[in-house]
């Protein structure tokens, strides 16, 4: 007869405790690289920027003095900064709306069963995959005051009267940088939506049809609530990317004319790097943080609540 060891209750608990500890250990071990990665690539630069923004740091001096909120007071006294803040919000919101609309439209189109669907899908993401410097330079040529292809085509098709100076008029210049940002960003939105649409159960949509719901009702009452988490994440990504989009404005207008396209990243570059006032540059780049934090918090909270349902 084989010996059978009786496991007492206390030993059983002890074993479970060891197992739990081991699980925690493995869990934390698996989590550590991600935490280190985030800490090194996100946390460290962020806290360093915070430190710079509270100091009189300049590019030419490695020793900085703590100046409290002086840099933040200084930048708010600067009328160009206030204009840049306004432009940044305008740029982000308008571009976001158009990217949402065009992205949705493109996603619907890409869902259609047509020949060469895969090729079309590959082609539409090209703007998003191209290096921004190259695509912005191509657009700069298309907006050129003397050789604008847009003007040439528009005038010949009688769509444009006169010869607009795209990058020279404040309103048109803002429209130009928004156009390029939308052109670059909406394919990404479309791909995100396409992936989200594929997760919508068709029987729910069919049931809506049977119940007499029209296209708009099916979209807003059935599809959107299902894909809402993906929409929130997409919106969050796009907002963050657009707020930090330096390249398009820098290449097209450098913030001109008359500061009409000056946004926070270009202003931070001019003050922090080109003029060398790192402290004020860091303050400019961090100014959106207190605004964005509650937005991100509420978006993520809504997301979590929806997941809990």
């Amino acid at each position: 007869m084989a010996d059978v060891e009786l496991v007492t209750g206390s030993r059983l608990y002890a074993g479970r405790g060891a197992f739990t500890r081991q699980r925690y250990l493995v869990g934390y071990a698996l989590l550590t690289p991600a935490v280190l990665y985030m800490g090194a690539l996100v946390g460290a630069p962020f806290f360093f920027s915070l430190y710079l923004s509270l100091s009189d740091a300049s590019v030419g001096n490695q020793v900085a003095r703590y100046v409290g909120l002086q840099n933040f007071f200084a930048i708010f006294q600067d009328s160009t900064f206030r204009m840049a803040l306004r432009n940044t919000v305008q740029f982000t919101v308008i571009a976001g709306i158009f990217k949402g609309l065009l992205g949705t439209l493109l996603a619907f189109l890409l869902m259609q069963e047509v020949r060469g669907k895969k090729l079309v899908r590959a082609l539409v993401v090209i703007p998003w995959t191209l290096p921004v410097a190259i695509s912005a330079l191509a657009w700069k040529w298309m907006f050129d005051s003397q050789f604008s292809a847009i003007n040439w085509v528009g005038v010949h098709l009688h769509l444009i009267s006169g010869w607009p100076i795209w990058l020279g008029e404040p309103g048109l210049a803002m429209a130009s940088v928004i156009i390029v940002n939308v052109w670059r960003g909406f394919p990404f939105g479309a791909i995100v939506l396409l992936a989200a649409f594929s997760a919508v159960p068709l029987e729910l949509v069919d049931a809506g049809k049977v119940d007499g719901a029209n296209f708009w009702q099916r979209y807003t009452r059935i599809v959107v609530p299902i894909i809402a988490p993906i929409l929130f994440v997409g919106l969050l990504f796009d907002t963050v990317f657009t707020l930090g989009d330096l390249s398009i404005v820098y290449i097209l207008t450098q913030g001109g004319p008359l500061g009409a396209t000056e946004i926070l990243p270009t202003r931070a570059l001019e003050i922090g790097i080109q003029a060398g006032a790192l402290g004020r540059g860091a303050a400019i780049s961090l100014i959106l943080f207190p605004i964005l934090v509650p937005v991100v918090y509420f978006l993520l909270r809504i997301l979590r609540r929806r997941e809990a349902l």
């Binding site: 590019v59 030419g60 050129d144 990058l167 020279g168 790097i273 080109q274 060398g276």
Partner: protein, 443 residues
């Protein structure tokens, strides 16, 4: 001879001989340390070391080829491995800032146009010895060099060369229409007014770009405007001369330009000239050189002229190019040796850059200068730039505050506000308020 021969044969030295020999040895050693930088022979301490240089990609690509070979040859002769990294000039400010933040990178670095010697100097090596020697040897430095390279009388930057911004005009059109060459702003305006009606206007950027900064400053300085006093502390922008120049600028725009100039970048005026439309532009010679290969006929018709004289001065705002040596550099000796050697070869630099690199040494402006004095089409006017070259901040130094006024494009925006319909006093007040705010931050 008994003394020496005997001493040598005995293998003994008297005290006097010992002192003499030691003195001669010390002097010799000192000369050897000094002379190599003049002659290109490095002291033993440099041999086997590495020198790293960070600089822009020159607008004349052939110059980079020349410079790379020049540095390689110097390195070979002196047993120093030299590495030159060329990057786009727009990337330079961020790169320089990141090198200092990291305390590592190159030994020698360059400021292009945005010269921040006044900001970086606590971390730059004092190179007064080199600059003084070179200055004495080549007839002294231009005033613009002091502004770009010195802080409180100490040389921290080696002013390598500047980029002149001459008038580039269509001589054929001036001749055909009986117009006087644009030697003054009034003549330039009169010619462009006549020729705009015939499809040959002119243009100076009124936008956020470097050309806009120096073109309008040059015009203002020619009208007698001063940025600050000589110390760079007292702001002198707010003046009747500024208002006069602003009024002139508006008239120049309305009579001679099109709204395109509000959208122009640094190369738009080059294209305007290259398209055959412009009667004149106010820009670096690269605008002219770039036409040579693609349109030789047009190239021959374009002439180069001095900065147009204004009512009170003839001053050209040039783009300064300045080298510095980091204090964190582990090879400062080689860096200084190289810079001094390079400073002794400025005439070669003029040739290699096809006249683009304008020297800061007064003594090199002896006519005929290489390339500048040899080429036709009025190119010889560049030989007179020593009298008119100034930089932003004029007549003060390129201080940190003056740099910020420059990088935030306040002057083009002030001009733009007025030209687009703003009232003169309102536009000037906006600009002056911005400038005062900036200077207040550096007090």
């Amino acid at each position: 001879m008994k003394r020496s021969l005997a001493a040598r044969s005995n293998g003994k030295l008297t005290r006097r001989q010992l002192l003499t020999a030691a003195g001669a040895g010390a002097t010799g050693a000192a000369l050897l340390r000094l002379a190599p930088w003049e002659t290109g022979v490095a002291p033993a301490q440099l041999q086997g070391t590495t020198l790293r240089i960070l600089q822009w990609s020159h607008f004349v690509p052939a110059f980079d080829v020349f410079f790379d070979k020049f540095t390689a040859d110097w390195g070979k002769e002196n047993g120093v491995t030299v590495r030159v990294d060329h990057i786009q000039n727009v990337q330079m400010p961020a790169r320089v800032a990141s090198e200092l933040a990291a305390g590592a990178g190159h030994d020698i670095f360059m400021f292009n146009s945005h010269v921040l010697t006044a900001v970086y100097y606590p971390n730059m090596v004092d190179i007064s010895d080199i600059c003084e020697r070179l200055g004495n040897k080549y007839g002294g430095w231009l005033q613009a060099a002091h502004s770009a390279g010195q802080v409180n009388g100490v040389w921290y930057g080696y002013p390598d060369f500047f980029i002149a911004q001459p008038m580039l005009y269509r001589k054929d059109l001036f001749d055909e229409n009986g117009l006087n060459y644009p030697d003054t702003w009034d003549l330039a305006r009169a010619a462009a007014r006549v020729m705009k009606a015939k499809g040959h206007g002119t243009g100076m950027q009124i936008s956020h770009c470097n050309d806009s900064n120096h073109d309008w400053r040059a015009l203002f300085f020619d009208f007698g405007v001063k940025e600050t006093d000589n110390t760079g502390k007292e702001i002198l922008w707010d003046s009747k001369e500024l208002r006069e120049a602003m009024r002139y600028g508006k008239a120049l725009y309305e009579e001679c330009m099109t709204p395109e100039v509000f959208s122009w970048d640094d190369v738009s005026d080059n294209r305007y000239l290259g398209s055959g439309v412009a009667i004149w532009i106010h820009d670096a010679i690269s605008a002219w050189r770039s036409i040579e290969g693609v349109n030789p006929d047009l190239y021959k018709k374009i002439y180069l002229g001095l900065e147009p004289a204004g009512p009170r001065a003839r001053l050209n705002v040039v783009d300064a190019q300045v080298y510095g040596i980091w204090k964190f550099s582990k090879n400062q000796a080689a860096a200084k040796a190289f810079l001094e050697y390079w400073g002794n070869h400025q005439l070669e630099a003029i040739v290699a850059s096809k006249g683009y690199n304008m020297p800061y040494f007064r003594g090199l402006y002896k006519k005929p200068m290489p390339v500048l004095g040899e080429e036709g089409n009025g190119f010889s006017a560049l030989q007179d730039w020593l009298k008119i070259a100034v930089t932003y901040g004029y007549p003060g130094p390129q201080s940190a505050a003056a740099s910020e006024v420059n990088t935030t494009f306040i002057i083009p925006d002030m001009v733009g506000r007025y030209i687009r319909g703003g009232d003169l006093e309102g536009s000037v007040k906006w600009g002056i308020d911005q400038i005062k705010e900036i200077y207040a931050k550096y007090k």
